[in-house]
Amino acid sequence: MKTTTIVLACLLTASAARAQDARLRGVLDAETLAKVTRLTDSARVESLPVEPLVGVALEGAQRHASGARITKAVQDYLGALRGARAALGSDASVAEIASGAGVLLSGVNGDVLRQLRTASPNRSLTVPLVVLADLIARGVPKDTAARAIAAAARANARDDDYSALRRFVEQDIIAGASPAAAAMLRVRSITGVPPADEPVP
């Protein structure tokens, strides 16, 4: 029975790998495909999300990046996924790890993720991390954005609060406010006090 289970698991894994190869096969050359497949296989073995890695490879193909460049980008993303899980803990969900990797790749230190986990040990950090990445994309300096999200986490903000923060900052920026000022101002509506002026990791 045990042997049958193992064989079935192997078959399922191989089937998934083949399906993924099919998505990449038409767009990557053989050498790059082999290297990327090794990286996605590593991610799968480590129970890390594979979809973002495939997305990075497909994006590279769309941008006509060289095989070496695509391999490097996938490698970097895999490193970020590992870093995110190390920072968020082994119990982190796939969505949290993927969001955390995006934050790390935008230049935020892994200690910020640890801070957030410490502040919200029993809540999903997917939304806060996505909002953090969004604030940085909107031009909020990463230290300021990290400070704002950390302050919100310490104030036990809910997902709706983070979504509102993102929405209000967006509106303020469109209205002409500086991204940093908008983030600092709006996070006060959640925490009631300005974000602590503590150094950001």
Binding site: S106, V130, D134, A137
Partner: protein, 424 residues
Amino acid sequence: MSVYSSIVVRAAAALLVSAAAGAQQTWSPFIGFASASSAGPRQPMPGVSPLVIEPGALLESGRGSILARWSVPVTSPAFQLNDADLAMRARLLSNRLAEGSLVATARFDHGSLDALASASSAVRLQIGTTGPTRGLQFGAGVDGWRSNINGNGVVVPATTISGWIRRFGLSFSAELSARSLPGSSTTTTDTARFSFIPDSLARRSTSGTADTAITGNPYVPSPSPPTSSQPTSQGANGRAFGEAALRVSGMLMSFGIDGHAGIGLASGGQARGFGSLILTKWISPGFAFTGGVVVQPPEPGSSGRRAGGLLGIRLASGPRLFPHFVNAPKVGASSSSVRFVDGGATIEVRAPAAGHVEISGDFTRWRPVTLDHVGGDRWALTTRLTPGLHRFVVRVDGGTWLPAPGLPQAVDAYEGTVSVIVAP
């Protein structure tokens, strides 16, 4: 001149290789048919050319663009004047804030009646700021000109500063340029070109003073940057020349607009104004009516300006407009927005003058998907989005993939810039 020719040839070759090296290219052939007329102070012969044919093509990739065109007035033997343009731009550096590029333009015209021929070219290295709505560029290089009238060639250093903004679907640009002619160089005749305007032939055969006016083709929006980037005044020893030009291009109330106006100044000489306005009405993708007027500065020794007009049709594959693409922002997407609905989002892109708009992102597995034309200049796609961060780029008329203006952006793993949206 041979050294300069070598520079131009090498620059052109480098640009061709650079543009062709981008694996993703867009090839857009076009052809125009027009009638043209002109009037001026010296008009010994009728200034009408009933049919002018103008074939050409635009090649674009993420690394640059190349435009080639050739015009021939086929039904006016007395005014046979062939002219051809080649304009190229290669991006050497491009990111969210800065852009550096190498620009080369070349032009040749030849009148079969009097066998006059002239060639002009310009090479510029440009660097400056760029962004979705504005940019500022500094350029330095050389301009060259040669005619078979006396065989003299002129090569002069040239500098430019140009800025542009984009508002209301229109691109507004201004350029200042300066060039000087070394004291040892002399140009002893006039070979002004004015394709489609037959009196240029009369002028070419009658004038003989030291001045040369070169302006843009009245039929096609100049393939070069604002007209001032080409040598417009050359002549006496040790003189300096400067120009200021304004250009507007884009779509306004369903009309494609390409207009420019400027003034040229030479040390010791008088100011010379020039301008043109070409309107294009696209009836359907690939088919347009076009018409316009051109005003050229007075000829040397003359007090009156010359004016010309044209009316015709254009058949094109690809971009609806052919703005002075080598040195100015292409009129692409002007703004974007995202509306979230249950389980998905509608991404809307406004792109004046667009024939088609595509999107490519993580939610399309980075494959191009054509947006639906939802009216006016609005294009939209409704798609399912999983909660979280999504990244994408858009392109207009098969051009370069760019982030959608007006949405947050991030640098991707390939040193490109992508739009970022967060699905709730």
